[in-house]
Symmetry: C2
Subunit: 498 residues, 2 copies
């Protein structure tokens, strides 16, 4: 008997051995006769929220079915949503609002049964596509690969069940070329095997720009969208559907010439971001050397509209997208378009960013000039960005590992994370208690709201015996630095003026 445990409620669910949910699905859709049925494949950070967006569509009433796998990691989500507990904790109050609304309308059902695809008018593909990165302890990127096997299984599940006139909308971030070279032929082949027409289905691509955090819902519903179709009819149908769920009057849609283009746009966006972070890394080192406050400098430069995207120094890059999307693009160029050259600059960005935590660690070790063995170190923030609970690929992870390898005694704080999943570590959210214990080194790792202008915390800090304070993300204000420096040693990544 397999089980799946909810990390939210700790409730344990038994995974059924017979995976037939068709009766429930049929009962659900019976209640919404005449309404279009939207199926969302994959209930992760995008799909789960996308289900809410569709069940709260702006100009149409849909019956929405979410589908995920009946395995240890995902089965609890299925049960959880059907029991009325949303599986993602986010600081965006709209999530609860949308979910409450959905529950009262009853127009969202979640299942593990591929039978759902057979009743869908629209299928939105929100399953993951990972890059397997092989790095050493120092985060040298030794190799990487994109394995499409699971993604293809997901697409085949659609092709083996879908109606011949379905609209399939791929939202997954994929290597450019995937819709045309992989999804399209798979669906065609499946339909053909099922003796169905192979020229009636529509295939669109439109990437989301989801930003988990306080604007989670808005980052889908109230934001610009780029889309395309495998042919004109597909693009038209995709556009029609998007208009029902997105505020396109305020955020006009952009239609591109083909699916390669939208797929490229998505990975280009994230590569741009990754590259701009990588760019500022060596300037951080230069600033530290030249007695310059790089935060101040970047702020000055960002006054120019042409330079407003410049990034600040930091501890590193995390999350699901920027750490892999440049590699998806580079992989595609070589493997889907058979180029003998890669995207060198994009690969380099990932490599440089992956080593940022190592730099922060070395900086700590060298600047403070102490043996870290047995030192009590408090890390503030473990998630990969401010005000989210998301710890996927957080740069705090290698930083933590480096400290641990030196024998440091590490305590963790994060207002959003109770359990650091990837490390199976308990994280405290009680700053006051943590700070009452002896500490040798305090490190700001994430710029959560709770750490910014927290004057009561700063005054608690000033009462402690001399310690090392290391701000890797520029959380501390000038006045706070001045105050803390009277008692403690304060160092900040990207600042040589302290």
């Amino acid at each position: 008997m397999k089980i799946s445990k909810s990390p939210l409620t700790n409730k344990i669910y038994e995974i059924p051995s017979k995976l037939d949910d068709s009766q429930n699905i049929n009962e659900f859709i019976k209640k919404f006769q005449g309404k279009k049925i939207v199926v969302v494949q994959g209930l992760g950070f995008v799909g789960a929220v996308m289900s809410l967006i569709c069940s709260n569509a702006l100009t149409e009433e849909y019956a929405v079915i979410g589908v995920d796998l009946a395995n240890e990691n995902n089965f609890w989500k299925i049960k959880s949503i059907n029991e009325g507990v949303f599986p993602i904790i986010a600081s965006d109050p709209k999530i609860n609002e949308f979910f409450d609304n959905t529950k009262s309308k009853g127009n969202l059902y979640v299942t593990y049964d591929s039978y759902a695809y057979s009743v869908a008018n629209v299928i939105i593909v929100d399953i993951n596509l990972d890059v397997e990165k092989v790095s050493d302890f120092d985060k040298n990127l030794l190799n990487y690969n994109v394995d499409l096997t699971l993604f293809e299984i997901g697409i085949k599940a659609i092709g083996n069940n879908c109606r011949e006139d379905v609209l399939i909308l791929v939202e997954t971030t994929v290597p450019p070329g995937t819709c045309a070279k992989i999804v399209y032929p798979i669906i065609k082949e499946c339909l053909s095997k099922r003796n169905l027409a192979t020229n009636r289905f529509k295939l669109g691509h439109s990437y989301e720009r989801v930003m988990p955090g306080p604007d989670y819902i808005n980052s889908i519903q109230n934001f610009y969208r780029v889309f395309s179709g495998i042919d004109d009819i597909s693009a038209d149908e995709t556009e029609k559907f998007l208009r029902t769920i997105i505020s396109t009057e305020k955020y006009p849609l952009t239609r591109l010439g083909n699916t390669n283009s939208t797929e490229m746009a998505k990975v280009l966006e994230n590569s741009y971001r990754a590259m701009n972070i990588a760019f500022i890394v060596e300037w951080s080192r230069f600033a530290e050397l030249a007695g310059v406050n790089l935060y101040e400098v970047v702020n000055a430069v960002r006054m120019r509209p042409t330079h407003c995207n410049m990034m600040f120094p930091g501890i590193g890059v995390g999350g699901y997208c920027l750490t892999k999307d440049p590699l998806l693009a580079a992989w595609s160029k070589q493997n889907l378009f058979h180029s003998d050259s890669t995207l060198q600059e994009s690969e380099r960005s990932v490599q440089i960013n992956d080593q940022m935590p190592l730099f922060a660690f070395n900086y700590l070790k060298e600047t403070f000039g102490i043996n870290l063995k047995g030192k009590k170190i408090l890390l503030l923030g473990v998630s990969y960005r401010s005000d989210v609970a998301d710890t996927r690929y957080t740069p705090v992870e290698p930083f933590y590992d480096y400290l641990l390898s030196e024998g440091a005694n590490i305590t963790l704080h994060d207002p959003y994370v109770d359990l650091w999943d990837e490390k199976s570590l308990i994280v405290s959210s009680d700053l006051k208690t943590l700070i009452s214990h002896p500490i040798d080194i305090l490190v700001y790792c994430t710029n959560h709201r709770e750490y910014i202008s927290n004057s009561s915390f700063i005054s608690l800090l000033t009462e402690k015996p001399k310690l090392f304070i290391f701000d890797t993300v520029g959380v501390l204000l000038e006045s706070e630095i001045a105050l803390l420096s009277k008692v403690h040693t304060v160092k900040i990544v990207g600042r040589g003026d302290l």
Copy 2:
């Protein structure tokens, strides 16, 4: 007898052997007793216009003296300004307006005599500081160096003449560290040798963000400024002066902690730009391979405010700044701050951008699959950016050289450039006549206004026998491409969809 010839009027000036202009200077300043005297050192693209900005200061009346060297390249400028002809041709009508105003007030005099520094309250340093790049024909950057000798001679000329309480404002783009480690000690030593106080002069740094073209004047007078001083008094005095010439209410000044910071900010700005151009280079190749219109994609991505600085594909990077400033920074890190590592990403940006024209050339050769020997090629635009006459380091130069090395028969057009100085080549501005001759290949090299939406030119083109049209800068509109493609072969850098 040495001479200096004006390229504007072709007038030839004899350079005097005795370089004493003190009498004229004294007569000039006598007319402005009680007014502060501002001396601008260097009358290039920045200094010449800076003189106009100062002679038309917003909140104070200055007597302004411009100083340049009495050599072949510069002596004509001195004479020209004093005779009432401004030495820079620009599309900004404000240049003439400001110069007319200056002439009627008579508050600008230009000289070659360092004696001018001795009467100055404020000296603005606008002399050049070049990077010597050693590259092969394929633009591999083999070596580079910054020679401060000439810059130091300029600073010594100030130190050997200036008042002990002068404000020296360095605007030249310099390797970070220059004001503190080079200018300050030189001035101090000179004053000391002259038995003057060495603690009364003020040294500030504030970089211009001059953009030659239609907004030349505004790019100085109505734009954000960053400044600093070698000490607090210097910063205060610099601020006071800048407030008299810049619209600081609308464009607030930003004061940074030290001169290293502002010097770094300037080269960081331009390195950011250079890096973002280098970033898009490999995506252009990918787009061409994947049948993607990268212009369309970049436009879609730029809808996001966080991505609005993304650059478009192109023929290359030119001008005085982006081609060298990243190297100034890298040189400084190693030579002024004695680091054993360079700024690798900044060096790479320069290298990648330097090779863009080579790519465009190879693309032309390969895509069109023809022997270029004897082919009649018309290049549209030789300046390094749209709507300026500036050909310094234009990417069209290596592109031209590559074509020439293949034995092509090249004709040049540019609405702003009559004589391509660096190549000593005549450039026509008569598009109609040029197009009436036989042409095999037409290449858009600069996106001048004249080339955009020029329907009469497009219709002339459609009447010509089949030719190759190669747009390296994305000038052509979709409708124009469609029209031209009916008769000709059209290819565009960064577009694989044609």
